[in-house]
Amino acid sequence: MKKEEWPIWEVFIRSKNGLEHRHVGSLHAADATMAIENARDVYTRRQEGVSIWVIESKHITASNPENSGELYEPAKDKVYRHPTFYELPIELKHI
């Protein structure tokens, strides 16, 4: 039989209810069920989570760091999006 590597999965864990799932790392598994089980063993040995998401890495589309300029530059000169841009009298309260 042809040797084939199990696909790579990205693992996201919610550490407790009320918090978002966060990326914790990746692992190999033959299918989604095994990916969840492996994630349980690899990433939650000390009660680090209450919920696990897995997704096969190939399904993730990532931005390219080479395009960082065109993606993020436009926000740089828009200081008026921040509250501190607006100068108001010091005596003013609750605003």
Binding site: E5, G25, S26, D31, R45, P65
Partner: protein, 315 residues
């Protein structure tokens, strides 16, 4: 050519500014290769490191010790997995890394080529070997490559228990019968020098150190880390009432550090080259486990494909 030079300068400027490098960022080819080598060898060390301790799981002296040892060995497997994943972000496959280990092309920490002869060795490994690993790994939590640094943070959080359980094993032996204490002393005698060798060759014989420090892969040199290990370990040996097997070991008031004797680097290089007491046994065990698991890996893959095909058909 100028273009590459320019990119390299920009890269160095990012490193100097304390920025982290992420997998998709441009990086010099040598930075990538050095990381693949270092991270995969680190991963191999975690995985091979399970073998000397696995040797004692069935013979642990109590249920408590057996649970602890199982948990520790499982952690080592986990640490190997975090590290393999970090290396994979640089474009090498898991199978390629295994292949390099199994063919002897890739190295792993020499310490695991020493045999574990008595129960006291489990204590000594936790105390000294994990202790030395912690010193190296704490430094690496600040390494410049993001995935490696993140794996190290995770590992360091888990490693402290490894060292403490080891020290506790020795504490109990050292407060036990004369024979038990002798067993602890014997383990220390065998593991002390190999533990010092874990930090790698001395700085003047480590040609890659300068570049690694410049790229902030390493934040401290081998000799600096080794000195730190000696300084914090000597008082811990005193608490146990054990004698470190080094007649030249003594506190140097002027330096504010312990002086210690000459390390036998011939032995170190012999073990690195494959002539240590257990090199062949370790590699054989690892290769056999991999080969014997092949049908399981293939069956799981075939099952996943079959289920997937059924699902596609149903749609």
């Amino acid at each position: 050519m100028d273009n590459v030079k320019n990119l390299e300068d920009q890269f160095q400027a990012r490193i100097d500014a304390g920025e982290k490098i992420e997998p998709k960022d441009w990086m010099p080819e040598k930075y990538r290769k050095t990381h693949i080598r270092q991270i995969s060898q680190h991963a191999h060390s975690e995985v091979v490191g399970m073998l000397p301790e696995g040797n004692w799981i069935t013979r642990a002296p109590s249920l408590k010790r057996k649970c602890t040892l199982l948990a520790k060995v499982q952690d080592e497997a986990g640490h190997g997995l975090y590290l393999y994943s970090a290396a994979e972000t640089l474009g090498i496959s898991r199978d390629e890394m295994y292949e390099q280990l199994h063919t002897g092309k890739a190295k792993y920490s020499s310490i695991f080529n020493y045999p574990t002869l008595s129960w006291a060795d489990m204590g000594t490994i936790g105390w000294l070997v994990d202790g030395a690993a912690i010193i190296n790994q704490v430094m690496l939590t600040r390494t410049s490559f993001g995935p490696y640094a993140r794996a190290m943070v995770r590992i360091c959080k888990e490693e402290s228990f490894h060292q403490r359980q080891g020290y506790e094993i020795l504490l109990i032996l050292c407060n036990g019968t004369a024979v038990q204490k002798e067993m602890a002393q014997d383990a220390l005698n065998r593991f002390w020098w190999p533990s010092l060798m874990m930090f790698g060759p001395p700085d003047d014989q480590s040609p890659n150190t300068a570049q690694s420090v410049k790229w902030k892969i390493k934040r401290k040199t081998n000799d600096e880390l080794r000195q730190r290990f000696v300084d914090i370990t000597v008082p811990q040996a005193e608490v146990l009432g054990l004698t470190i097997p080094d007649p030249d070991l003594k506190w140097n008031e002027e330096r504010g550090h312990y002086d210690f004797g000459e390390i036998d680097w011939t032995e170190f290089w012999q073990v690195v080259k494959g002539n240590g007491p257990c090199n062949k046994e370790r590699l054989k065990a690892k290769v056999e486990a991999w080969d014997n698991g092949e049908w399981v890996r293939d069956a799981a893959m075939a099952y996943a494909e079959k289920k997937n095909a059924q699902l596609t058909k149903a749609i």
